[in-house]
Amino acid sequence: MRSLIATQHSNDTQPKSAKSVGLGGIGRPSKHESADKHVSGEARYIDDNANIQGQLHAAVGQSTIAHGKIKHLDLSAVKAAEGVVEVITVADVPGHHDIGPVFPGDPVLAVDKVDYVGQPIFAVAATSHDLARRAVKLAKVDYQVLEPILSVKAALAKQSFVRPPFTMQRGDADSAIANAQHQLSGQIAIGGQEHFYLEGQVSSAVPTEDGGMTIFSSSQHPSEVQKLVAEVLNISLNKVVVDTRRMGGGFGGKETQAAPWACIAALLANKTQRPVKFKLSRVDDFTMTGKRHPFENSYQVGFDDQGQIKGIKIVVNGNCGYSADLSDAIVDRAMFHSDNAYYLDQASVTGNRCKLNTVSHTAFRGFGGPQGMMTIEMVMDDIARFLGQDPLAIRKINLYGQNQRNMTHYHQQVEHNKLAALIDNLEVSADYQARRVAITAFNTENTLLKKGLALTPVKFGISFTVQHLNQAGALVHIYTDGTIHLNHGGTEMGQGLFTKVAQIVAEEFQLDVDRVGVSATRTDKVPNTSPTAASSGTDLNGKAAQAAAKTIKARLISFACQHYQVTEAEVSFCNNQVKIAQQCFSFAEFVQQAYMARVSLSATGFYKTPKIHFDRSTAKGRPFFYYSTGAAVSEVIIDTLTGEYKVLRVDILHDVGQSLNPALDIGQIEGGFIQGMGWLTSEELVWDQQGRLLSNNPATYKIPAINDLPLEFNVALVPDDPNQEQTIYHSKAVGEPPLMLAISVWSALKDAIASVADYQFSPALDTPATPERVLWAVAAMQEKAQAAREDKKLGA
């Protein structure tokens, strides 16, 4: 018989304080599980994996026009190019060629026609990355050019939609608006956003002996990659394994958008029976992958003298690009969040899913929610200026109530809502009122530079709005040295999911967190997983891992009861030890006893979110298990001669329930805020008249850099406020909600612009609010102020 690994015998007769859990356990600011590897360069990403012998490199030939039929495709020069081993078109796909994730419409390689600039038409495998990229440029493609649709306006005019329009309503908005004391209307164009994960899209495919394929993919959704690879190769799912250790950033951009490159690598690997790596260059990544949806939204609102909304009609028009992708759910979420934190009373929200000849837009942190919220936050500012009130007062008066005024336009009751108190606390801690006075004084004294201040809230619904995705699985092994191996269906993209779930398992056994090892997410370890998305990673996978741990723990306790003839109450786990009545064992010692007694030390765990349901046919239900909330106060300064601006101070108070890891949660809040700020300020996607993306690299597309960090940045978690729902340790999801706190920056910019006309008018400010847009908004304010002065003179 093989011997077991030597363990240290515990000499302690009494366990140490039950409260101290060494390095691990929930609620601690544990470092990211890969932090040491990140800083030393040892953390491996897919492009870092050692080249396997014979490995080839892929590239694709892309459409150069936005819409047209392929009349003739001449690939002879491509085939003859240096280093080229294989060239494939859609005719070489053995199985399905449509890789649409939810709805059909995304050919892996173009079928006879092209629908956007950058669409992959054919693929090459060559002996080097460089040679593959060179070869694809040699194709000759004859197109019959068709007229492209390149604006939301044109798409609406032609009723060009990727999915049918949809309306959510409660009550009779039209009459409520008509009967209200005041009416306003407005519209806004909201720009999209490139994910700019620092690690671009990359996959590698390695053929296996049974006609299968092992895929290494930088993907938020390994199970979907597995399914699509199996489908394009026409093989069964059990022959495909997808492995994702970590991503160099995802942000939603690797939810569906990772799959095409994995599929193309797999097709080439299958054809050549050699490993194939496909890494997109940064420009190709910009050109060929979907972005946050640009939206063009409008509203009509009726409100009373106090500024309280009585009725509202909102139309959100998402620019979905050429295919459905996830756009149905994304525009749904924009509609769900058209209330943000406010009671809309009689409301109608319509969402259009416009089809344009651009790349297909996709998930991005917030998933349509941010674009939905922008409209209602604009409404708040517009009502405030109309009534001559501070916008904060209007926001407060419109918040959802605790016991009344708490029904959303999709008929979910807003429960456990403490946003009003949160805002009051932030208003005090950020010294809002005193700063409002100081800023008004500053603006009176300064003609060139103007300051602005705004407080905006966030209420973000947590759960996938597609019900079946709200499930997760996990796999926990305990080895005979007392270490634990943990796998679950979630993927690590930097958010710290692996750290938090390891903490949860460590907590269950009261072990140091470094006893819990986490390896790559693999479809052969935990099957049929949902994407790591919708902020749900920890909520779902944490619960699943806890369930697995509890299963093993129950077996261990049962073993102890039998073996030592004690009751369950006499068995406890603490501080890397197991206490059984008066005896104390190190965890490893105890585990070895269990092993020798033939106790299974491996278990799976499963979780599904309770309570949620939504009936799309009636647009009623409870799509969200709970809401994450927070608020931010931003102060900006603008230059009225150039439109340049700077964010001076930001104060954030955010509710994560009982924090599983405050350091990681603060990191998500800060990072989400800055990313949201980039979306609304400097990150401008510019397409030309032919549908080509001009801002297709980091020289022309500017994500926030280090000097965009606010001069003062105060971020706090709401203390002692556990989630009232039964989430994992009563925590709350944190991935997406903080992004929308950045709406405060946009609103503060408008506040500064409004000061130019003494706050009499509400500036229109489409996003991103680049210096150019700010300057034009200032100019528009100056003209309105001038016109108002002239009106007054005439009146006098």
Binding site: K31, G643, K646, G667, F673, N697, D708, E772
Partner: protein
């Protein structure tokens, strides 16, 4: 007589490269030849800093090392000659993280970790040059590193952490040995690489350079490569004959004379900036926003000028200052006004085989002021929509001398002559400024592009003239958000 090789230290190990593709970047070398994958490719265009490595380089008298962060993705491998290349793998000693690495861990400065090696290396270089950096120094040093996850606060905190351990790290311990090793390489003839038809040649003095260019006027001159390398990494060009200027001793000179400053064409920004900033503070400030630390550590004035970009920031500023440049062809040197150098879009007065040798700037005199405004979407590392430079001499509120130049407004960096005419020898009043603002529309018909519209460019150019005037009237009021603290 040349070496037919490139020699450098990879950490402490001497490396000799022969028969290697000269178009290879340092990043490709590290990842594909040295199998050292800690350094990441984020953009391959010098815009994100994920590939940041540090080169330690001998100072002028070859007694000390300068640690410089550079973008490996746009540095050609030949430029490593005579330097020590340090990548993120070299910092950790055994199982112990370098203090800079430990600070990033302690402050939760990594999330996805992909940008982290670059941040660590930029911070390492900063701490080697400035052991106790303040916040402003940290922000300047890290402005060329993009992070999409953290929002930067934790990174700033990590970089502000100082530790006496840094001063006694392994690099300090090896210091004298490293200096000696690099000096030995330095005493060898210039570097040369040949691979197939591709050549790389690094002359060590100006006569070798002149001779090479006379023999092969088609050769491509490269200094910092911060723009040229993009033709390789982005446009997939292959440059056949590269001549590197960084080892030409005479092109590395800086001279402060009685009435002028002379800067060798191949002196990197980071080395000449302090001298310029002392003369013209606004120019110094602008340069901290020109590219990034990594770019300024290798980028040169000669390269910026020869590149003749209509959106470069230095050319309009130097034109406003009345800078001159000297050009050399064979052993014949000529000197021209910089504004006469730019003939059209990317067209210059350089003749075949000729190269830029020196840039001459007048020193500041009392009564004269240079005002520089850089307008871009982002504060850090962004190309200007408009760059405005106003050089004004006032006597008794009369404009006695004036040069106004803009970048981003025309196909070349260009003076606003009509605008100048509206102000020269006039009193410096708002009325005359208004006339000069109107005159700008005669000087320029700017274009719309990805950075700004034509209308915005014109409006901002006009407004900046007004801002310049207002700043003159009251130097105490805050007028620029970039500096607002």
């Amino acid at each position: 007589m040349t070496l037919k090789a490139v020699r450098f230290l990879l950490n402490n190990d001497p490396v000799t490269l022969e028969n290697l593709e000269p178009n290879l970047t340092v990043l490709q070398y590290l990842r594909e030849q040295a199998f050292s994958t800690g350094t990441k490719e984020g953009c391959a265009s010098g815009d994100c800093g994920a590939c940041t490595v540090v080169v330690a380089q001998l100072n002028k008298d070859k007694t000390a090392l300068n640690y410089k962060a550079i973008n490996a993705c746009i540095s050609f491998v030949g430029t490593l000659h005579g330097k020590q290349l340090l990548s993120v793998e070299h910092l950790k000693q055994g199982a112990t993280l370098h203090p800079v690495q430990q600070a990033f861990v302690d402050h939760h400065g990594s999330q996805c970790g992909f940008c982290t090696p670059g941040f660590v290396m930029s911070t390492f270089a900063l701490h080697k040059q400035t052991p106790t950096p303040n916040r402003e120094q940290v922000l300047t040093a890290l402005a060329g590193n993009l992070c999409r996850c953290t929002g930067y606060r934790s990174i700033v905190d990590a970089a502000l952490t100082t530790s006496e351990l840094i001063e006694s790290d392994s690099f300090t311990q090896q210091y004298q040995q490293t200096v000696a090793q690099l000096r030995a390489i330095h005493d060898l003839p210039g570097a040369e690489l040949t691979h197939k038809q591709h050549q790389y040649y690094a002359p060590k003095n100006i006569s070798q350079l002149a001779e090479k260019l006379m023999a092969n006027p088609q050769a491509t001159l490269v200094a910092g490569a911060t723009d040229l390398a993009l033709s390789v990494t982005q446009n997939l060009a292959r440059i056949e004959d590269l001549v590197y200027l960084g080892d030409v001793a005479q092109l590395q000179e800086i001279e402060e004379a009685a009435g002028y400053i002379r800067i060798g064409a191949a002196v990197p920004y980071s080395e000449f900036t302090p001298l310029l900033a002392a003369q013209y503070p606004e120019l110094g400030e602008m340069i901290t926003r020109l590219g990034s630390r990594q770019i300024r550590n290798v980028g040169t004035l000669g390269g910026n000028i020869a590149n003749a970009s209509p959106i470069g920031d230095m050319a309009p500023t130097l034109i406003a200052l009345g800078a001159k440049i000297s050009l050399q062809l064979g052993d014949v040197e000529r000197k021209i006004a910089l504004e006469d150098f730019f003939l059209g879009y990317k067209k210059t007065a350089l003749k075949a085989g000729e190269f830029i040798k020196n840039i001459y700037l007048p020193k500041a005199q009392s009564g004269q002021t240079l005002k520089v405004y850089k307008i871009s979407k982002r504060i850090d590392d962004d190309i200007s929509a408009v760059l405005a430079a106003f050089f004004i001499e006032l006597k008794d509120n009369q404009v006695t001398q004036l040069r106004i130049a803009f970048g981003g407004m025309a196909a070349t960096p260009k003076r606003a002559l009509a605008c100048e005419a509206a102000l020269l020898n006039k009193t410096f009043t708002l009325d005359n400024i208004s006339a000069a603002q109107q005159a700008l529309s005669h000087d320029f018909q700017p274009l719309s592009d990805v950075r700004a519209s034509d209308n915005y460019r014109m409006q901002v150019a006009q407004n900046l003239l007004k801002k310049c005037y207002l700043e003159y009237q009251n130097s105490n009021i805050a007028t620029r958000v970039v500096n607002y603290a």
